[in-house]
Subunit: 449 residues, 2 copies
């Protein structure tokens, strides 16, 4: 595989350098666009530019659509407006809109104007929010009229099929272009040629509003297992189509965003190597700094109890253990609830059920850990005071951590915030302050100091 | 919406209790199976059982397929072998296999025998690993022979379309059932009726092996944007089909698994409320306990430096701040690299590039935090010794944390382990020990004690 791949890259490079255009076109046409992208990674910028100036528009469009957005933008900038507009006209309108949205403002209009009517479609798509239905839909869908026959529809399909992004679902509109039904290509193929579309269409067609959040769209796809979903405007007019292959990207993007938030990173929506170091810095420093400043509280708590620590220095040995255990148990609960909310396993109405379960879990986890902590602490020496203090503290801290971890994401949801902002670092910091306070109060009570 | 839904539940309940079977069937048939599932959540077990004994087999199969696996198993157990086998025969074979895999061993065979030939298909599917291609594929695909014509194929389709899970891609096999090509329904519809399949088929058909890992399958779908992907055995014989709608579930499952691992939870592959408390306990206690025991190291480190702490008790105030900052910065780096590896933004060959970027980031993050730490520490009083110690420690700890966080997931990958096991709690614990050691060495050096 790897040897074959290297040979392929070498062959393509040779063809580019020797300007063997027709042969190059033949080789590229024999590959899947996604595989061409792998080859591009091994070529220089000028070789890539030479390749794109030779291959046909539609091939170039298909390859461009598979690249990361910032690589797409680089190539378009390098090719210039004339060549780029030819290629962009052949791209799916949703992909073209994503690409043009990535360009500097001054280049956008020039390119859109050069794209003529296709430019208008893209201009329309650009006005929608990036993470809404409108931002991920394509305008290359097949709509058919409710008063056509099956035969008429099949004839129409022969014309439009090459342009459309999917023809497996045909959306039926009335005279005002309002969505009224759907016919699958499967049903069409087995239907009588003279039957009317109105007779065979399914009137129970589900659609999403053009302003709906993309996360909601993922849930609709997941629930109903669609291959495509039509998008309508306020008047119910069919304006676009979202296909299942795009949804996989959206779902992955949403998961990545949640994972970053859980780790206290401000989400970056670009691949790692396409993100500048300054952007990575900004995405990480925010929460690091917030947590750092919030740690002033733990500093103040320790300062307040410094006399207790000085007289029983053994108490300090357990500080990392206690605050980390609290942080870990809290993060586990928070992560479970946050993911449960994201994939709709947990709903807001389940709040009290979740809290009871987590409290029971906290009690069990805390109990088990308290037992181990007691044994562990006896090794420090100095009688039973330390083991008693540490084990009671572990029990209390784990129960509190589990409850806080489960509760915060739910509170965030109630306050219309993203539950994933209740990150592990945040919960750890909160548990540090709560845990240390509990620890020293328990220590003072037991030691009578 | 909510009022309408409550009215629907009431209506269905009334129809069940009054045994108005035909009316009940009509209402259910008018709903999407996924919507019926929402209604089931509001019904009692006996009402659900009554519903399933009345509705047609194929409707029951479609509804059952939308439920969580353990709810499916409960219903099948309640309905008994005879009724269950009728319904299961109508299910997609991949869904039926998932369901039967959930049942106790003794019930499986009885049910499979009652399903006759459909039972054989399912029995075959059950032998594959749950998270392999074989475990997620269906056997209801349409295969056509390479020597047929377009017309013959369309006639064949009219017969088999109702049974197949998807007819949008037709897989072409030779006389030995080996996969040799693919024709899309879209191409078929616009082709000449007398053309041979061999002339119009695409020979460049991509397939996955029946033992391939499901995560690999997700990546193939993501890369090539397929709606379906054929599965072949060692001899290249077509044995199954994976469809895009199932891939969305798999991708979400894999993301959930990674998220759980990152939070130090042993993955649970069931929805929150379907997981028993004892299972949740087990999934969380493992890492909590491991980290707890690993914290013995930090205890020992603090014990070793107890004299330093006793003489300069102010040093203890910064312990939570330092170890948390290290844990946070390390988790950020680890999470970034782990997710990058999972979505293939980062590859093993990028190792040195990743390390350089993270080191540069660590230096920038550490520098910024050290500045703030210096100012913060001056408020504690006692001259410049403490601010100097704390700020140098922060710088060193953040750089180390970022490097360790980036390196560990890569090491895990090299050792053929899942990088996501390098969880935030694990990195936090490692950074606790490293960070405290650095802190006290720096403190001793500066204080000359």
């Amino acid at each position: 595989m790897n040897v074959k791949f290297t040979a392929l890259v070498d062959r393509i490079r040779t063809l580019i350098l020797s300007k063997s255009d027709q042969e190059l076109i033949d080789v590229i046409d024999g590959l899947h666009p996604a595989d061409v992208v792998d080859v591009l990674e091994s070529l220089t910028d000028s070789e890539i530019e030479a390749l794109f100036s030779v291959i046909p528009d539609d091939t170039a469009a298909a390859i461009l659509g598979e690249l990361d957005l910032d690589d797409q933008a680089d190539i378009v900038e390098a090719l210039g407006v004339r060549r780029s507009s030819q290629i962009l006209k052949e791209m799916d309108s949703d992909d073209a809109a994503d690409l043009i949205g990535e360009l500097p403002k001054e280049d956008r209009d020039e390119l859109l104007n050069a794209m003529n009517s296709e430019g208008e479609d893209v201009r329309e798509l650009l006005q929608y929010e990036e993470d809404s239905s409108g931002g991920i839909m394509t305008t290359e869908f097949v709509s058919i009229k409710s008063d056509w026959t099956v035969g008429q529809t099949l004839a129409h399909l022969r014309h439009v099929a090459p342009e459309a992004e999917t023809v497996y679902y045909l959306y039926v509109v009335d005279a005002d272009d309002r969505l009224v039904g759907v016919v699958s290509l499967r049903e069409l193929v087995v239907a009588d040629l003279h039957a009317g579309i109105e007779q065979i269409m399914n009137r129970n067609v589900r659609s999403v509003h053009v302003d709906a959040d993309q996360e909601e769209v993922v849930q609709v796809f997941k629930k109903y297992r669609y291959l495509a979903l039509p998008v309508v405007d306020d008047d119910g007019v069919l304006t676009g189509l979202i296909t299942a292959d795009d949804i996989l990207d959206v779902a992955e993007e949403e998961a990545t965003e949640d994972i970053q938030k859980l780790a206290g990173i401000v989400p970056v929506d670009k691949p790692y190597f396409s993100t500048r170091l300054s952007e990575l810095f900004k995405s990480r420093i925010v929460w690091l700094m917030v947590m750092f400043l919030a740690q002033s509280v733990t500093g103040a708590i320790l300062e307040r109890f410094s006399e207790t620590m000085r007289s029983v220095i053994e108490l300090t040995f357990f500080i990392p253990l206690l605050i980390d255990s609290g942080g870990n148990a809290g993060s586990q609960a928070a992560t479970t609830v946050i993911r449960g909310l994201a994939v709709r396993d947990i709903r807001l109405k389940d709040l009290s059920k979740v809290l009871w379960r987590e409290l029971a879990l906290g009690l069990a986890l805390g109990g088990a850990m308290a037992g181990v902590a007691f044994i562990r602490a006896t090794f420090v020496g100095g009688g039973f005071a330390i083991p008693i203090i540490v084990s009671i503290s572990v029990l209390v801290i784990i129960i509190m951590a589990t409850a806080v971890g489960a509760l915060l994401p739910v509170c965030a949801t109630v306050l219309k915030m993203d539950p994933a902002t209740m990150s592990a670092p945040l919960i750890t910091t909160i548990m540090d302050a709560l845990g240390l306070t509990m620890y020293f109060f328990i220590a003072r009570a037991v030691l009578q100091v």
